[in-house]
């Protein structure tokens, strides 16, 4: 039933304290990753996103003092079901809201999330395992490097969905139509090709089984800037908790081509 909620109703629940992965919530609406950094680092982050559009498609930017915007009527500091606060390249806190942490000079980036195209996958008959199991999507740091921008550098992070072999082409075609929410997969089939040693031990989210006859399919993931924030030891960054996304007021079809 959470699939039928409006974004405003979903955000209301998260604001009230509910913390849960948002995959499967608010079918038809666009979900977004959050990364907010001090203005001094905003150029590096925006340039990093421009240079790595596959993992970091920017949907909107909230300038200092803005907590809502063109695709969000709520409050970005309270309306997500989970946050992370990184300080000097360490995970410092995982609060349920970040009003106190959000300084006057923070710039917030809303970055496309692959949960947005999962409804289209289901419509096309492609099963989505983590939704079936009520889990978070598994996410992995890879050995592929992003293109550096100023002080921001780091690895590509990917999400993984097992897809029946006969439906891999369909999954590619469907998701390719959503380039703003990561688009087509970056790799199908071999975890080792991305430097992933064990699918059962994701770096973020929950593991899901890959059945016989299924292929692990990997999409670029908006957690990528979090990995860069860690590696680059930015003094401060506020992000969503991986898998617990901002649900925006933009329709998923707004980003379909």
């Amino acid at each position: 039933m959470t699939a039928g909620l409006t974004p405003a109703r979903a955000r209301e629940r998260f604001r009230a304290g509910l913390s849960t992965p948002t995959s499967g919530w608010c079918a038809g609406w666009t979900q977004a990753n959050l990364i907010a950094v001090p203005q001094e680092y905003a150029w590096d982050v925006l340039l990093f996103a421009q240079r790595n559009p596959k993992p970091c498609p920017v949907l909107d930017v909230l300038e200092p003092g803005e907590f809502a915007g063109a695709i969000l009527e709520g409050d970005v500091r309270t309306d997500l079901p989970g946050y992370r606060v990184y300080r000097d390249g360490e995970l410092a806190d995982r609060p349920s809201e970040v009003v106190e942490h959000w300084g006057d000079d923070l710039v917030g980036f809303l970055i496309g999330c692959s949960f947005t195209f999962e409804n289209a996958l289901l419509d096309a008959g492609v099963p989505v395992r983590h939704i079936e199991l009520g889990r978070n999507v598994p996410m992995y740091r890879t050995t592929r490097r992003c293109r550096r921008a100023g002080r921001m550098s780091g690895p590509l992070v990917v999400s993984m969905r097992p897809v029946p072999r006969a439906l891999v082409d369909t999954a590619v075609e469907v998701t390719a139509r959503y380039p703003q929410v990561h688009g087509a997969p970056v790799h199908c089939g071999d975890p080792a090709a991305l430097g992933i040693a064990d699918l059962g031990a994701p770096d973020y989210g929950d593991p899901v089984p890959v059945a016989d006859g299924e292929v692990p399919v990997f999409w670029a993931c908006g957690v990528t800037p979090q990995a860069a924030v860690l590696e680059s030891r930015l003094p401060l960054a506020i992000t969503h908790e991986p898998g617990r996304m901002l649900i925006t007021d933009a329709r998923d079809t707004d980003y379909r081509i």
Copy 2:
């Protein structure tokens, strides 16, 4: 024969002093608009581009001290067939190279250009009038406003190509596959809908006739940031001369979806 040149050979001619519109040059290669501003204004320009992706698709960013990059082996200060220097919102100079003007703190943005998809239009049987006539494409300032970013605000600028009525759908379909070089048209048919009073008096480039049975088709144009630089009275901006583009080392198919 200029259609068959490599980008390196074309840039060599421009570096030697040739000034000419580049439409029709180097078939199969990506052309780009240039806008360079002092670092202090770079955030505003990049955010303006992010907020107005149709006229301002960023292909690459050259940081201070960089005159070449991932899609350019030449020198951005000498290899274009014409430049403009804007100071305090006035057109100050139209030099043939900008080595002396290009200060240590300039950030250069390479922005997609619709000349890139003209080869695909020709391949699809859609005639391109300004190439037929050996002219520059006509460009117009419209009454549509771009979304503001910091100190950058201004109108949408468009290029116009007359298309036979029966081929308008084809022109839309072909160009929609190139979102990084302006993609599908922003309007087909009525110049007045964009606030264009007289197709015969473009704001940049040359007029071209629209024959009976043809529809004027308007694409977003990478001269848009120049209009914003004027309106926003930036202290300094270096751009290409409209229609006299940077020819990059990226294939046009790199930007086709």
